[in-house]
Symmetry: C2
Subunit: 324 residues, 2 copies
Amino acid sequence: MKIGIDIMGGDYAPEEAIKGVISYLKSHEDSGADVHFVLIGNPDIAAPYLSLLDQWQSRYTLVPAATVIGMNEHPTKALKEKQDSSIAIGFGLLKQGKIDAFLSAGNTGAMLVGAMYTVKAIPGVLRPTIASPIPKLDGKYNFLLDVGANADCKPEHLVQFSVMGSLYAKHVLNLDNPRVGLLNLGEEEGKGNILAQATYPLLKQHTGINFIGNVEGRDIFLNTCDVIVCEGFTGNVALKMAESIYNIFTETRGVHDEFLDQFNYEIYGGTPILGVNAPVLIGHGISNARAFSSLIENARKLVASNFTEILRNSFAETADQVTV
Amino acid sequence: MKIGIDIMGGDYAPEEAIKGVISYLKSHEDSGADVHFVLIGNPDIAAPYLSLLDQWQSRYTLVPAATVIGMNEHPTKALKEKQDSSIAIGFGLLKQGKIDAFLSAGNTGAMLVGAMYTVKAIPGVLRPTIASPIPKLDGKYNFLLDVGANADCKPEHLVQFSVMGSLYAKHVLNLDNPRVGLLNLGEEEGKGNILAQATYPLLKQHTGINFIGNVEGRDIFLNTCDVIVCEGFTGNVALKMAESIYNIFTETRGVHDEFLDQFNYEIYGGTPILGVNAPVLIGHGISNARAFSSLIENARKLVASNFTEILRNSFAETADQVTV
């Protein structure tokens, strides 16, 4: 399989992106044996780091991209004006099927817009969504979605997030019959804002998911469920709170704890965009080599599991009553 | 001043409520010298613990209440049917001015409904709100509101929460020119869901508050601002996540850290209802003696600072352009 990487994206690009590829090649000699890397970026800037890949010349191809979309550029405007940027070229390759997955630690908005306008939403998917693992006290992870792509949602969007999250948990995370919880401010049915109150009965009657009811903020780090569904506003606040816990306790307070280690985003590297016609992954802006390596493995799993095909088949049946 | 306490409210009532009073009397001999306690509850059930108060007989009065509103009872129904309950009697005393503040660790919904229907909202206040301190890395606290009373809000509600939160931070927490942040999924103006996008310009043009812009989930534990404003759905999730961090790391993981200690709710004891015509405070269901003692001190400060009068004066001027 061919995994496309925007080597210009992220605060420490291209160095860490390329070192991430090296780290992956070294640590995934078996499982990653069929991965060919398509590195997209400025050859001159990347040259000093590409030389580190000399012993793996057969494992990668460099696709030149003259420009970069900056972290603070307007996504739609930048994608339109910078067609020679690494993100624009990456999505071009993805659309043409020249790469099987595309990942970048660059401008998140440009990645979302690029995914929506090139590979596009899967037919039947109302709103593609971004999801993130959140560590659970038992060593596993909850899968939280949406975490920011969809700030305002309707009940039917949350139902689809539940389906996409369940399918991801089952086929990519290999969880059997994943439990779905609706993030809410109380446990009982009937609690919540208008959105949560209207979503609850739809999830309850949905035969394609294993809905266990409402979960609260205190359940986010516990093994109450496997997939936590909410609109992207609350999900984004929850994700950023969780991420800040790692920085605060590990870096500022010097606390060492195994559970705390699970909060390190480098372990999972970033977030997939679910519901578009090809695997697209967004890394953290601060991604280092380890984070890039994790993101690559995540991309490999998405491709190897045929996840896009699974989503497409599910949503082809009926948009709101698919079977997981 | 007279502080009314529902000694039947909470999982460990009446024992911990009464022990909380004793703890307060012992630890606040000076600042709490003018506090007289009005203990509301079932005399028979409370008798074994009331005997612990023998040496402070002049400092308290017992007001009998035959029944208790259970933690899971329907608030409105229970308040109507159980007029001899400790919460109903407490609000009766508060309305008549026989106590200056009322606190309970019992049914949160009944406390909210009781406050709204007896002492009622201050004229001009659209929605009374509940707020909670959230620890900051510098040893201080952010003041987060709303944390669950108002799951669906309009921009004008968030503006009023900003005003009430600022006034509380200034007059009760003694913060000079408290900074208000709007909880959002991005830093820049224009980011957010429809509510946040519509609220931002209202806060920006408001001359009565010190608005510093958007804050994100990662700012909740930092000293980015002093008052964090959001609707009660996201605020409730954020609060419960923060609370769970203390339990997870301290109790389950055995981590000891000074910053983590600040997460212990026993330090502040509970949450005030802001925007009603008398000080009302809600304690945690699991309140122990220390938590009750903190809640009492919180009630004393609210009364001593004339906070209700300050709110009333502010909202009497104009509802949306008060000066902090």
